[in-house]
Symmetry: D2
């Protein structure tokens, strides 16, 4: 395995904290980390889709990475830094910084405005960025519904693994589970594959998934840990109940605005990460109230450790 | 439950037999059924996508349904008839026939050239067809990647269930597993939901799926039964191995032409179902040889009972 | 030129008349033809998208073709019959009938549930149907936004023209005007190309288009004739005014339901073609009133000859 | 009119010059401008899709804008700066710079990784950037096939025009010509609308378009001027011939890689703009030779003034 040491199956794609004026609020990272720690988290994915990377300046992305790498080091965590961007020179700059500051791994999605037209072109993109952090495990971030890039990863993964010495795995945010199985088996089974759709987590587990990166692990980690532990113990009924609980919540969030809802849920758990940035829109007071009502009606506080209680560190 | 009695979790969407000149070869149905029986099948889905329904005339569809209903009656099977079509009058005619001849259920996909623009319109389509077979369980067939209809089923399923007395369930051929979970819980948990993507079967099982309709159960039923039984026994490792075996086969089939490959595989198992019809294309001799080579290299004969042996009836 | 003799640049894709109970109302065809005749029409395209072909049974399609061919013969018109269907055997039956009854041409769209995966497959589909009416000009109907077939016509048109002796042209309902220019020049300039998007008519004219098949020529032919004549005379200002008038109307119709609005507009002109069939939905009384109000406010009666007046025969 | 003074109907979306090592080669801008000047160009659109904006760092984009604004000022040209980006803070920084350095206008496309979910959200994005250059005309850049943003501009344009004082127009790169007509008429006819698909230029002219921004005006401006002038004189035959010439060239370029081909064509005209950057791929020597052969066979040198000759300044 060329990859990072991953602690625990659930890796939050951390939300990015903003102040009420929309400026980057790095001072909230410690509180955010404390909440995650209490929930049992020991690894984070920084500056991904959930982290609104595309709405941050390069300077902000690097400041955010620096902060998380420091906090992560202090806590003994595994910190993965997302460095994907339309501009590969930006990605390279972030990759260099990540290696210098000791990231456990870097990940990148494909350029997605101008798009690679072939697996060859996509491998060349990955190779350029991976070479900027040659001693750091490199992960490709597959998320075609967002990027619109439709070069099937199954067609180029083996070549990428051969050519790029630090190619370590894939963050796979895709509903095609044949592709997921393929990655689990590809490259002699040496890839680390992180599944990326929270509402499909149990399905990914069933197919042999061993770890997941997602936004739900910012606020509902205890619920997802229960799901995972029940599945591991063979109690599928319990695992299904938790997955269904998560699915209901996610559908509610989608109907209101997913990331704005995620920030509201972290707020309910005691940490204020501020608003989302444009082009996303924040919840109206009515929408926020609707979300809180949903949480109460579903009794979700029990599942994510309200009132100072939590499910215990793993 | 308003639905049909379903025997066993795996329901083949049966291939339609053609003679070498492309004409309908109903005389092959008995042999086809015998092979499926030997594999443990006790329920079939007739005239679906796998059955090339859209390449059959109405007369052929009704003759095919009649034959399968007779054969199914003799064998004590559950026979579901697909009656979906662009023209709802055709669907109604098939629905009437299916009820008259004792089908256990009918299913329909959405009209897909002119498309319903709303859940209301889609419910009205279903209601019209369901009313033509009012004593027969009605199933909606969700398959958006083929129909291009993008009215989310989760938005209209409850209303359809209320308004249509014989609405019994959904054949769900879709990668969105949040929608799948939704259907399993919708309508007070009263829907029968058949999952329709063979290469995701274990995922559907994990989320609580209880039955599947698919093309793989025409030729690789023993493999999929092993998968299901292993999962039910809690041996996920074995279940994953079988799912992965299936995934490799399916990918090979896709690269050559899926349905033409499926007919070739049934031929390897001893039953000749003839060519596929246009707009599909048959395998070239080279492609057929490549598929056979793949089957041998993978040792698949062991899994589907070649040489007169099979895995036994369940 | 292998094609039909086309009279006038504008060919209505005629609406199909239904009685108030939704049954086929062939007796309205004569009235419909009289209205079109008064508007200057001398050629029709029968049983296309506008004619809701996909909601008709095969028997209804053939009865409709028969009626139009008789009416067209009596009036000395050019009658083109659309025979496209998912089931090619149905298409062949309609093609045979069309030739027998003296159609000036037949057209077919691609099978669109199961889809051809290559130009080769699509040519094979066309060849089979064209061979059923070998003495009748054959037109391919390109309408990818409806069929979802994405095999670019520019890649296979020359081969189709070589292989299919009666291949005469293309009805092109597509916003890609590079493809349109390509067809105008392909096959030594021998193809007849009918443009199919009414709101782009002036653009198609500018690029060299010589004829169009569309739904707008059911109710607003005088407007479109003015457009065309102004363009031919070099009065682009006037042509643009008419095109913009049409565009406003079409947008209004789209917002209410396009084909249901088209039937309402023909009703305003004195011919009742009844409702649309499912999966389409009819206008509510409020929507019908809104459409009539729009027509009045825009002063459209002047353009399509209300009150028994019209723009005169051309 | 709130907009910029536009000289001539054809505005090149200028290619960005790179050195052979891929670094920004600003020193080529003067040569590039000289070639364009000889072709009659008096306005440019800098850092758009053709300019590979998404592959440039923010610093590079600003350096490129600065250079073009200086060169443009010296030549008395109209210089429009594209400031669109996923990160609106970047867009605002570029907008401020553009205003400070005297840009005639700024343009932005929508954020396209995280995407606005409504017209409201998109207007808010535009408003934020437009407010950073309040005295500079602001243009929205509609290019849905690249951004994947599907909020129809026709639904929000009037509101945007009301709310944003410097909203001046739209660069419209879209095949929907109903939308194009809508924009020409919207906001009391006060919008400047630049059409963006070179192979549809004559169609846009026919519908009333008055200016275009495109990549073809980097290397084939004389051809497109002929097209435009012929159309304006009422010689549609000649205009169609030129449009068809352009269409053939564009199709050839698309088959090889469009922007890499564009750079090769400028090289043929005597100015070396270097390679394209990843994720795009450069032409192989064989592909470059094929393109040159095509140019020779088509006799295109005559149309773009090779050998130091050109069609004269307009």
């Amino acid at each position: 395995m060329r990859g990072a040491i991953i602690r625990g199956p659930l890796i939050p794609a951390v939300l990015t904290p903003f102040a009420s004026d929309g400026s980057l609020a790095l001072s909230q990272v410690e509180q955010q980390a404390a909440l995650l720690h209490a929930d049992g988290v020991r690894a984070v994915f920084v500056g991904g889709t959930t982290g609104e990377f595309s709405s941050l300046t390069l300077e902000e992305r690097m400041a955010l990475a620096e902060r998380w790498l420091r906090v992560g080091r202090e806590m003994g965590w595994t910190v993965l830094i997302h460095v994907g961007a339309n501009c590969l020179a930006d990605s390279c700059a972030m990759a260099k910084q990540a290696q210098k500051l000791g990231a456990a791994g870097i990940a990148m999605l494909s350029p997605h405005y101008l798009k690679p037209a072939s697996g060859e072109a996509l491998i060349a993109c990955c190779a350029q960025v991976a070479a900027s952090a040659p001693e750091t495990p490199f992960y490709y971030y597959e998320i075609p519904a967002w990027t619109g890039v439709d070069v099937p990863i199954t067609d180029w993964i083996e070549t990428a693994y051969e050519r790029i010495p630090n190619f370590a795995g894939v963050k796979y945010t895709h509903t095609d589970l044949l592709g997921f199985q393929w990655l689990l088996q590809a490259c002699g089974g040496q890839l680390q594959v992180f599944y990326g759709i929270d509402e499909h987590l149990l399905a990914a587990w069933a197919l042999g998934g061993q770890a997941a990166v997602g936004s739900g692990y910012n606020f509902a980690t205890p619920l997802f840990y229960r799901l995972w532990q029940a599945a591991e113990k063979g109690d599928l009924q319990a695992a299904r109940r938790e997955q269904w609980r998560a699915a209901r919540l996610i559908r509610q969030m989608m109907s209101l605005g997913y990331l704005a809802s995620a920030k509201e849920l972290v707020r309910l758990r005691g940490v204020d990460l501020g608003p989302v940035r444009l082009p996303l829109q924040n919840l109206s007071p009515e929408q926020a109230a609707e979300l809180r009502r949903f949480v109460t009606e579903e009794g979700l506080e029990h599942y994510w450790g309200s009132n100072g209680q939590h499910l215990g560190t793993r």
